[in-house]
């Protein structure tokens, strides 16, 4: 009887240790994701396709960003949006509209509004501090998406001021790029879903060239962001992240 008990405990310990070995830690995965996705600087030229009630709108923009603190976006097309500029410094955001010749600061509740009618809010655009500073990460399983094995990383907020209480991220187990991200409210309601496709190797990093954002509370097919060109760690003039550069 005593031998049987010892055997049982041993088997249980073996199962626990084996399962722990199967799943890497959440931190390890997110660190590897950061190695791919984050950079000292990024210059991105992209096209945004927004599915609206009256058809699809396409916008083109160029974004210069430095770490997760500073970014500057200029809209290049269509004509109505051309010349609109956005500047993000830390947690502040300014928008310049050439039609009104005005620079407006966006803050408070206004940050929850959609960016240019897309499925992304200003808050979504601004919150790019490292996930591990805001969430506790845990690998809760694995799944295959589009033929690629993915770790399912569940992120639970450790801070109060997060936009989404929890996130579920499907991370490519080989390339360490998220392929799908579900964003949840505290109630467990699914608020937004991002799917990241067309993964390409750019400057030695795996990076998704197409990202689709879908506000699950809105009708429509969502917003697709297609990256036409991306440069990592390029030199960006310091003057670009200046309010004076908006006009």
């Amino acid at each position: 009887m005593k031998i049987l008990k010892i055997q049982l405990i041993f088997q249980l310990l073996l199962i626990v240790s084996l399962s722990a070995q199967n799943y890497p830690s959440g931190k390890t995965i997110l660190d590897k994701v950061d190695e791919n996705m984050s950079a000292k600087t990024r210059i991105i030229t992209s096209r945004m396709e927004i599915e609206g009630a009256r058809g699809t709108r396409t916008m083109e923009s160029k974004t210069w960003s430095e770490g997760d603190k500073r970014s500057f976006t200029e809209y290049l097309a269509p004509a109505r949006e051309k010349g609109t500029k956005m500047l993000k410094l830390e947690n502040q955001l300014w928008i310049f509209s050439p039609a009104t010749d005005r620079t407006m600061q966006i803050s408070g509740h206004a940050l929850r509004q959609s960016v240019m009618g897309s499925d992304m809010s200003y808050e979504d655009m601004m919150s790019d501090t490292p996930l591990l500073e805001r969430y506790k990460a845990e690998v809760t399983g694995s799944e295959t998406i589009d033929g690629r094995k993915c770790w399912i990383v569940t992120l639970t907020a450790i801070k109060e001021d997060v936009n989404y209480y929890s996130q579920k991220m499907w991370v490519d187990a080989e390339r360490y790029v998220p392929l799908k991200i579900d964003l949840f409210a505290k109630s467990g309601k699914l608020l937004k879903r991002s799917t990241l496709t067309d993964i390409k190797k750019v400057q030695g990093r795996w990076f998704p060239m197409v990202m689709t954002y879908k506000d699950m509370l809105k009708e429509g097919k969502g917003t697709k962001m297609i990256i036409a060109n991306i440069q990592f760690d390029a030199t960006i003039s310091a003057g670009i992240f200046n309010k004076g550069n908006l006009k």
Binding site: A53, R57, I95, M104, M116, S118
Partner: protein, 423 residues
């Protein structure tokens, strides 16, 4: 018989004056209350209709289903043609296209950067090309300082927001919102006047501009979120509005076309169904309770009147008068008192109601923090019910009171009458 009873009542004022006064007061209050309740509820519904819901509202299917979000991406396009058709199909109604929107209002500092901001709810109405909307919404009485827009690019703003944003008349402000196509929309306005509604929900952050400006701002050329319809010849009539909406929807609404037009009666617009049902039922319930209470008071008066004459009935029985005759005369007298009191009560009640209907009571000072869309001046409204409602408690209860009080007459024993009279 009636003449005899009437003379009796005139000669013995102790048995007629007080009951008539009581009936008159009761009926006066009933008549006044009915007309007052009718006026308050009708005015509240009309105020809401003129301001936001119309007697009927025409929208696209999706706009109608998401009305609270003011989804201008589902606005009606080809608004001029649509209104022209509505005017020709329904000539007994007035139609007004409006745009409701939400956004952010921003005031710049001297460098053109944000000085102050406020979240706003906006309304684009016809202000420059016609005075109809201004009169319909009674905006003249809401203008606190400044003036109405006289040229393009001018904006009215609630006084509360004006002060919160630390603005001055003539200041430039920028509206940031979304266009009909979902684009970011920014548009400059000049503040020309401030409004005060006395309703917290509106005073917190409403802006009103001419619809042409709002169209420019939100890229809504020849479009509007909604078309409000108003009966020219009557206040809101739910059955008429429902019938009209059903007829319109049968012709125009298509389930497979989310941009097809749909008409909603006021009772079909979110929250309004409750207000209308509440107004209809609450008015009846309040009046019923009051009529019941008045009936008990007047019934008591009849009862006391009957009991007070206990001795008189005894004497009349003793000298040989028939019990039935005494009972009939008692009820007859009560009927006369009821009729006379009711007539006086209805006349006096109508006079008070008319005065209240004409002059009203200005409660704007008391309604400053209300969340309901209520008229600033409460008025009575006399309708057909006002003329007869007072007779219900006035006549019925006095007669029932007398009928009950008179039952005692039959219980009197002739043999004991003289003994009772000795006391």
């Amino acid at each position: 018989m009636i003449k005899f009873l009437f003379k009796g009542l005139l000669r013995d004022k102790s048995r007629s004056l007080l009951p008539i006064i009581v009936v008159t007061i009761g009926v006066t209050i009933t008549v006044f209350l009915q007309s007052y309740m009718n006026g308050v509820f009708t005015d509240s519904i009309e105020t809401t209709a003129k301001f936001s819901s119309g007697h009927v509202k025409v929208m696209t299917q999706v706009y109608k289903n998401n009305l609270s979000q003011m989804p201008n991406d589902y606005a009606i396009i080809g608004i001029d043609e649509t209104i022209k058709k509505l005017r020709s199909d329904y000539p007994d109604m007035s139609w007004a296209d409006r745009i409701q929107f939400g956004g952010l209002l921003d005031a710049p500092d001297s460098a053109g950067l944000t000085r102050s901001q406020g979240n706003v709810m906006g309304m684009g109405i016809h202000l420059l090309d016609s005075n109809d909307e201004l009169k319909r919404m009674d905006l003249q009485s809401k203008l606190l300082i400044g003036r109405f827009p006289t040229k393009a690019g001018e904006l009215l703003i609630t006084n509360e927001l004006f002060q919160k944003m630390n603005l001055k008349l003539g200041d430039k402000v920028t509206l940031m919102s979304n266009s009909m196509y979902g684009e970011m929309a920014m548009y400059n306005f000049t503040v020309c006047g401030t409004l005060h509604f006395g309703t917290q929900a509106l005073d917190k952050g409403l802006v009103v501009a001419d619809i042409a400006d709002v169209r420019m701002a939100l890229n809504m050329e020849d479009a509007a979120g909604e078309i409000l319809g108003f009966f020219n010849d009557s206040p809101y009539d739910d059955s008429r509005a429902v019938a009209l909406a059903n007829e319109f929807n049968a012709k125009n609404s298509k389930t497979d076309d989310k941009f097809s037009l749909a008409m909603s009666p006021m009772s079909g617009v979110g929250g309004m169904d409750f207000l209308i049902a509440y107004s209809e039922n609450a008015q009846s319930i309040i009046i019923l309770i009051f009529v019941f209470a008045m009936s008990i008071v007047l019934w008591n008066a009849g009862l006391v009147g009957g009991l007070r004459r206990y001795g008189e009935f005894g004497l009349r029985l003793a000298i040989g008068e028939n019990k039935n005759e005494i009972y009939r005369s008692l009820v007859g007298e009560a009927l006369l008192v009821g009729v006379i009191g009711s007539v006086f009560g209805v006349v006096i009640g109508l006079v008070f109601s008319w005065l209240m209907q004409e002059y009203g009571v200005d409660t704007s000072g008391m309604m400053q923090n209300s969340n309901m869309m209520m008229p600033a001046v409460f008025r009575s409204q006399i309708n057909s019910t006002t003329y007869y409602i007072g007779f219900i408690p006035g006549i019925l209860s006095t007669v029932i009171g007398a009928l009950l009080a008179g039952i005692g007459i039959y219980k009197r024993q002739t043999a004991n009458l003289f003994k009772e009279l000795e006391n």
